[in-house]
């Protein structure tokens, strides 16, 4: 004997004794119900419930090398952008008898630490956002062979990916503004080390403008951490480039809302003085006045598909390199 664990610890063994069966029958009752006679099963289940028995996942994981837990790393919960993504993941795993656990990571090194925790836990799979990760953890993930899905990623998956083309969406929303007659269009991006799902929009914006014979120099970068506060800064920065700016493309609806609030302070009419396009179709986009014209990624579906890719792999089918395009659409409201 080694441990000074309380004697009252409820184990499979104690359930077995109380139910008058072997531990194996208890195990089978939970894992392969069809292998156990109805009557026996009911008895075991009843006893287990009475004793408050919950199978020790650590022991099961160790013995079987399998897990029904999937880990997801989420960049932030500061705003609602990942709400539907997480709901999609959660709803899908529930239907398959899996469990989802989350870790938050604002930076690459936090992401790396979260991944190490998940690997230590020997989860069935890992869902990441974006395609930039520390090279050490990439090596680690390769070595362990755990299924990994990158979300919001549209090409060159590390393992598997689910997402949509931010380039396509940038082109479509820019062309929409051009079509509606705006000419002096400004673009707001994020500065510093941000995900490529933001940085790859800039060249596409330029191309779309140039293709229409328009100038593409109205570009201003803000700090991703600024939230709503980025709006006023962006507007000021773009007005310094061109005081006659007539439209603005924002990296998120939060920034767009910040711009809209600032227009309110300045007494600028939207969209008459300035048209505003957002990104993400957050709840606020439909609630403020005027409503925000914005890109709606299909985040809920993205979450669902991310989980189904992992579960398929864990179940034996599925393969590395799989990619799913969940698309996007433009929600047209009054702001642009």
């Amino acid at each position: 004997m080694t441990k000074l664990r309380s004697d009252e610890t409820v184990t499979m063994q104690s359930v077995a004794v109380a139910a008058g069966v072997s531990p194996m029958t208890v195990s089978n009752t939970f894992r392969y119900p069809e292998r156990v006679q109805e009557e026996t099963r009911q008895r075991v289940l009843k006893i287990a419930a009475e004793l408050g028995y919950i199978p020790n996942h650590a022991a099961g994981n160790l013995a079987s090398g399998q897990s029904r837990v999937i880990g997801a790393v989420i960049p932030s919960i500061k705003n609602s952008s990942f709400y539907n993504y997480v709901r999609g993941m959660q709803d899908h795993v529930a239907t398959e008898g899996y469990q989802l656990i989350l870790k938050l990571a604002d930076t690459l090194s936090q992401e790396a630490s979260a991944i190490r925790t998940f690997v230590g836990l020997r989860v069935a799979g890992i869902a990441l956002v974006g395609d930039e990760h520390e090279s050490d953890v990439k090596t680690l993930l390769r070595k362990t062979g755990v299924p990994v899905v990158e979300s919001w990623v549209h090409e060159n998956p590390f393992d598997m990916a689910v997402g949509y083309s931010t380039s396509d969406a940038t082109r479509v929303i820019t062309e929409l503004l051009i079509e509606r007659g705006y000419r002096r269009i400004g673009f707001v991006g994020y500065q510093g080390d941000v995900s490529s799902r933001f940085t790859e929009r800039v060249p596409t914006f330029k191309q779309s403008m140039e293709k229409a014979g328009l100038d593409s120099y109205r570009i201003f970068l803000v700090d991703q951490a600024d939230g709503f506060g980025a709006g006023p800064k962006a507007l000021e920065g773009l007005c310094a480039i061109d005081p006659d700016l007539d439209a603005i493309v924002c990296p998120t609806d939060i920034v767009a809302a910040g711009v809209l609030f600032e227009c309110g302070r300045r007494g600028w009419k939207v969209p008459e003085r300035l048209a505003i396009a957002g990104w993400g179709d957050y709840e606020i986009a439909s609630e403020i006045t005027p409503g925000l014209t914005t890109v709606q990624p299909h985040s809920y579906e993205m979450g669902q598909r991310a989980m189904s890719l992992i579960i398929e792999r864990a179940a034996g089918s599925g393969a590395t390199g799989m990619m799913v395009d969940t698309g996007f659409h433009i929600v047209k409201r009054a702001s642009a």
Copy 2:
């Protein structure tokens, strides 16, 4: 032999062989570095890194009966209300060498399922929000003896609690409105099965009004799921009770922002025609115009203290029944 695991699985054993030491020395290197000679430790660490070794938490948990993982159940990430709470938790556990994992649960039964997952994982402790939980899981938690902290709870903890008095905050914000000369004050609450941290505000509001000799019948309940949309509904409902309503107390800044947007649509000046008080000091409270006067709970500290209570208990000190009051303060802005 049992498993058909890949032979390349990196275990403590394989690290030990490669480093020319026993498995126990590898174990000590990770868990009790001071027990191992500097030179040996460096060698083991180097080999471990080369092989991409991550200790199997399941095996360690099983062998030691301990865990460095803490589970937290969060009601929602739809808006930013729990952002600082989670940051506080995460920052604190990191300093203590623990890891935080999250599960989202919108309903009591989802919470129960999340708790069962955490118990199955044999986490070191569990952080919950609010004081309402399924009675089955309460029994289960009692039986397992896992440390549990309830947050946003100010009295009668199930095990331990950290929070502030929503009653006190309701009184203070109501008295602020009265002091500022508002008389026809309306109160917005949530209908249905919501946490007591919302329901207990109603009686306090009534008391505060009556104590000042004012009418307290201007009360309207909205659906918690409505988000910003609850604002217009609440305003309409309260105007039906009293068209000359001059101030409104909202359950969250989101609802308050919804009311503010609706005032914009109606052409009502804030706070001249209607004063608005929010709750939570979300990011939007300082960004919209006018800024929202609101209750600022010290969520970051709440998260930190929740984790320290759990870690103390896991480390042997600490006791059931512990409670921490993290307080609150009122942020005065232009809306009221």
